[in-house]
């Protein structure tokens, strides 16, 4: 089967029944989708399949054959963040960051289908996504801001300065 992930097509054999999550993480090496529960309960693995949010831990990879898959890595780069990414940085919507990629992809799809800054509608759209750090209000604020099309001044968060543990530590 052929999976196009963030624009690059990968041929993967014999993994039709495996979860798309495992195929992305283990076969293709795309680690943005996280394995939080492997049973659809947390939303950390959500990716876009032809633009629609799906739990990659519930989706047999065979069903994604021939589709375009977008993970957080395909949303934007540090130099060119997508609006939802800017909103998450600006509103401190990512704390430990583990739920963030699933959250943002679901939010991105919500805004794509015309979602507004209405808090109830945002809660519905993200209802299946669990965050244990933030208490959700910052996440909802961020999605609302992105839905409104707010512009974000991220000059204080100069790109490139922020690296993490495995890429060599602090600034």
């Amino acid at each position: 089967m052929n999976l196009t992930v963030n624009g690059i097509t990968h041929g993967v054999d014999g993994r039709e029944l495996a979860t798309l999550l495992d195929v992305l993480r283990e076969d293709i090496g795309v680690t943005g989708p996280k394995a939080g529960c492997h049973q659809g309960g947390c939303g950390a693995c959500t990716v876009l399949v032809d633009g629609e949010p799906r739990r990659s831990c519930l989706l047999p990879a065979g069903y994604a054959d021939g589709t375009e898959i977008t993970t957080v890595e395909g949303l934007g780069t540090p130099e060119k963040l997508a609006p939802i990414q800017q909103a998450f940085v600006h509103h401190y919507a990512a704390q430990c960051g583990f739920c963030t990629s699933g959250m943002m992809l679901a939010a991105h799809a919500y805004i794509d289908r015309g979602g507004t800054d209405d808090h109830d509608a945002i809660q519905q759209a993200l209802g299946g996504h669990v965050c244990r750090c933030t208490g959700y209000s910052k996440i909802i604020d961020a999605v609302a801001a992105a839905a409104r099309g707010d512009s974000f001044d991220l000059t204080t968060t100069a790109v490139g300065k922020y690296t993490t543990m495995a890429t060599g530590g602090g600034e």
Partner: protein, 269 residues
């Protein structure tokens, strides 16, 4: 990279039929076949090794999705995503909207919902009550033989047959009442569906009272008086304790839900 679960895959024969006929043939007598609808129940079962698959029959490409209306007869293919029912009239629409969240509803299918096995810790198969109330019939296959029968008769056999689709006559009125879910991930602890046919037949059904959805004949018989019908419904069920609610709680709430459904049916009539 870790070799991951390649071994399982090699040990599992994956069948991906391209049509209904191919699906029926691949299913055969159903022995050792794990049917994969949307996979939202099957995949976690495989991941957590609650189920083993010698043969997996993936229905995604078999063309079994879609809703068709001919006159007043509605036919829904087994692979139709639950999300596609959300805007239909009660009891189906509100019942479907109460299943999981948008992402799971968009992937989980009507057939997978109706064929869900008894839950390990929680009931599943919320659509059962809505389709039972609609008097739906189920079209299914085994050993190459396709039959259509009332859903009530099909449900106990759902592990031995391949469901192809369900159909029902559009009702004159319908209603749905379920316990509120504190979170979109909760299964509904208890729900009641009701529908009145154009010929005046009233059907009531519940999910969350046992292993799968059941009709409530005693409540139907007492329907003139919604309060009495609510109490009568208790004769039709044997509520249980599980992670979602106690039998005691279900016993207290079932009469209330039955009453709400009957009141709503009266209003819409």
């Amino acid at each position: 990279m870790a070799a991951a679960s390649v071994v399982t895959d090699a040990a599992t024969e994956v069948l991906m039929p391209g049509s209904e006929d191919e699906a029926i043939a691949a299913f055969g007598d159903g022995a050792e076949v794990v049917v994969v609808g949307g996979g939202t129940i099957v995949l976690p079962d495989l991941t957590y090794r609650r189920r083993r698959a010698r043969k997996a029959l993936m229905l995604g490409g078999a063309g079994l999705a879609g809703i068709e209306t001919q006159g007043s007869r509605v036919t829904i293919g087994t692979m139709t995503p639950v999300q596609e029912l959300v805007d239909m009239p009660a009891p189906l629409g509100p019942c479907a909207a109460n299943v999981a969240d948008l992402e799971i509803r968009s992937q989980g299918t009507v057939g997978g919902n109706l064929c869900a096995r008894e839950g390990y810790e929680a009931p599943r198969g919320d659509l059962q009550s809505a389709f039972l109330a609609l008097g739906a019939s189920a079209r299914s296959a085994a050993n190459g033989d396709v039959t259509e029968e009332p859903l009530e008769d099909f449900l106990p056999k759902r592990r031995e047959r391949l469901l192809l689709g369900v159909s029902f006559d559009e009702p004159a009125a319908g209603a749905f009442a379920g316990l509120d879910r504190p979170h979109t991930h909760d299964y509904t602890a208890l729900a009641v569906s009701g529908a009145k046919g154009t010929d005046g037949t009233l059907r009531l059904a519940a999910t969350g009272t046992g292993s799968w959805g059941v009709r409530l004949p005693s409540a139907e018989a007492a329907a003139e008086d919604p309060v009495a019908a609510g109490e009568a419904a208790l004769e039709d069920v044997s509520p249980h304790d599980d992670a979602l609610a106690s039998a005691w709680y279900r016993t207290k709430v079932l009469p209330v839900l039955v009453r709400r459904v009957l009141d709503e049916l009266k209003e819409s009539a």
